[in-house]
Symmetry: C2
């Protein structure tokens, strides 16, 4: 999209280009900002104000003049002072909004990948721990493949003993797929591995990057926890973060800072930006960690650490819907897939009953599922997102069970990751089915917490 001729004329008359700093007078008001590219109505001039918000202006009643660019504050240089009384945190950057730009204090844009930059941007961080950083990838998370999960897991397996905890900065789009993958690949890891992202960074004064990072660092230093988790805003306020189990979390909103929700379980803990940690789950609710029922239980895993970085990429995630055709499923059979996670309707249903002339093809879906279940793992989750899958309640579900479908108590994302990981270990269909039915590391929610909906 482009600006209209009248907007272009106004800009050209004042020798203003996109990206220039301008002063605008509108009535009695005067304000400054940066001219942005057009994103909607071509007659409306978009200006990013100093507070980070964009404003759209009808050009009829404004006065505009070009201003010199603001001087970018020089990155404050820090002498990296190692404090041996403090814990050591390794930050692995993988890209995404949070790693590319952190907008904090100065309101400017700082590329904060080097430790010095990061500490310059978030001075509180060095008070919490010694910070070591490394750039692993520089990518948007929508492009992450299982190969990247494997590389990341290997890196963590190799490095984690030297540090008290690891923070991974990551794009938010698929961060919950990565957290599930690392949970399976780094079993019984003795250190906290905390993924963080940011929903708004360079385009808002109200960036969530800094607080997510600070809370993750506080959690590593102050809490007795090990395992893979996600630390993100607990609400739209800048007070607390939730630490979500890496296996039971999902991005539930496209833009809010508190977009991430624990699914069917409560978050593990709440961490304030000042560093206090409140554990929110106990063994019985979480079905995963051993410990007493009081808050602040021993979250340390008991088993031996195992690095298991494998994944079979011939797995798919396929959603049921009205009109779903057996041919859509057969595509995966013909393409040699080894596993398919279905997102069923409701308790885990699919259109498999032929009851009239419009549903004749449903019988073909049932027979396709039955046939495919012999050479491929077909797993059932629910597109409802929340609540248990149960194939025993209705006849449709029982037919699916008979056809060989395996119900799991997991988000579709975690089920997809588990299936690829299981099929990375074995292509033996019976072994893989057994592993999918088991609750290996607490990935299956045994008791739903009603507060988590």
């Amino acid at each position: 999209m482009d600006y209209s001729l009248s907007v272009k004329k106004l800009l050209s008359r004042e020798k203003i280009s996109i990206g220039d700093r301008v002063q605008i007078e509108k009535g009695k008001n005067s304000f400054e900002g940066i001219v942005m590219p057009n994103t909607g109505d071509p007659d409306v001039l978009v200006v990013k104000l100093n507070n980070g918000y964009n404003v759209g202006l009808e050009i009829g009643d404004i006065k505009i003049k070009k201003m010199p660019p603001l001087k970018r504050p020089a990155a404050r240089k820090f002498k990296y002072e190692y404090d041996k009384s403090k814990k050591n945190i390794l930050i692995l950057h993988t890209g995404g909004t949070i790693a590319s730009k952190i907008d904090y204090e100065t309101g400017g844009v700082i590329t904060a990948i080097e430790p010095e930059d990061l500490i310059a941007a978030i001075p509180e961080l060095m008070k919490i721990a010694n910070i070591h950083t490394e750039l692993v990838f520089q990518m948007w998370s929508e492009d992450m493949e299982a190969d990247h999960w494997i590389l990341l897991a290997k890196k963590i397996a190799q490095e984690h003993e030297r540090f008290d905890g690891i923070i991974i900065t990551h794009g938010t789009d698929t961060i919950h797929y990565t957290s599930a993958a690392l949970s399976f690949m780094l079993q019984n890891i003795r250190k906290p591995v905390i993924l963080i992202g940011s929903q708004r960074s360079s385009d808002r004064g109200s960036s969530d990057a800094a607080m997510n990072l600070l809370c993750a660092a506080h959690f590593i230093v102050n809490a007795d926890f090990s395992g893979v988790a996600l630390c993100m805003h607990a609400s739209m306020d800048d007070d607390d973060c939730y630490v979500h189990d890496g296996l039971h979390v999902r991005k539930m909103h496209t833009s809010r800072r508190d977009a991430f929700r624990s699914i069917d379980v409560m978050p593990i803990a709440k961490v304030s930006r000042t560093g206090s940690v409140e554990f929110m789950t106990k063994y019985a609710e979480h079905g995963k960690f051993k410990g007493s029922a009081s808050a602040g239980v021993d979250y340390k895993r008991k088993g031996e650490f195992k690095s298991l970085p494998v994944f079979n990429k011939k797995v798919a995630l396929v959603r049921m819907r009205p009109g779903f055709s057996y041919k859509e499923l057969e595509f995966y059979e013909k393409s040699g897939y080894h596993g398919i996670v279905l997102e069923g309707t409701g308790l885990g249903q699919a259109p498999i009953n032929s009851i009239d002339k419009y549903t004749r093809h449903h019988a073909l879906l049932l027979s396709a599922i039955k046939r495919m279940s012999k050479s491929c793992i077909v797993v059932m989750t629910s597109q409802c997102i929340y609540g248990k899958v149960n194939l025993n309640v209705y006849s449709t579900g029982r037919k699916l069970l008979d056809a060989g479908v395996i119900p799991v108590q997991m988000t579709p994302e975690a089920a997809f990751v588990k299936l690829g990981w299981v099929l990375g270990h074995t292509k033996n269909i019976e072994s893989a089915k057994n592993l999918m039915q088991m609750n290996l590391i607490g990935e299956q929610v045994e008791r739903i917490d009603p507060r988590a909906f």
Copy 2:
């Protein structure tokens, strides 16, 4: 799954079969119930108690004996008395849990499809209105096809003038797809068309069927509303229902009675089981109804009623994920689909950037989308469910826009239904793209209500 040999032996010794009524003594307690099929641990006997709940019993410490079956209460006969001072409601049954069995008052199981049965089961109903019923389908909603939406829309178009409102009983799995379809197919309908379902009917004493039906009837009689909406439990309590806009609602939990949530907007109204109606939205928030900003606005549509029961079934709903292959998308091209709704990650992204050796195939997805957009409509929604789609924020989104992808502010389900409906009217690619971009009947959420997350 089957019971273990020891459970089978116990049952056979007492001549008890699955489905028999039994009395059980365990310690000092004694209770009665029905022996159910095994659904989990083969050593645990499952018994459905009189209150509807299932209990699992270790057989070691119980005494069990067979009891005669309870007499099913005879359906109370009502003389159907037409009260001309009351409004007239047509109930169209399509099947699902709610229509097959309504478990109310007696605790028994009553097939409540005939008006007499329904009124016998829910006597309050006849105090609210004259009830007329008709069985349209008898099916689980997971089997519903667009053909059924069309038949239902035609039926409503034909009947609605004779009644003050229509209630549709429907399975809950795909009820929100049907409510979206009827919203497009019955534009500016002058009567309330309220879909209801039930999450638990015959297997729980705490059935939600009766209250959902009562609230729908109250809403039709007491509220000045017309259009297509969904009436379901507002919470786990039996006090209120929400009336959700048929276009902006989704089943978000597999089993809870309050499983349905309005997405990105507030529900239209709250209705108590005693009949009071509280409108919760106003024009500015809802972006749809004309009227004043006060509660109880005029919800009547202004335009002319149009019956538009068409649907092009060559549309699909395809989810993006790590590892998504361009071949999965090309399947739809090769199979002659006319429209595809993508469920993108985050703001509406897809893995289209080739940045390293693992992501080489991403470029092929981008070119597939670009090529397919010329002969097929490719629409973008978000798998986050909540929040706006925005392809302008990141470079990935802008590439998708350039490739011809159309972002919409709708749930994936409503977008899928709209796309099939639009392509039922026209196969002209430009007309269809225009219609998808427009906000025809308030299906696109223009302003997200932050309370709705």
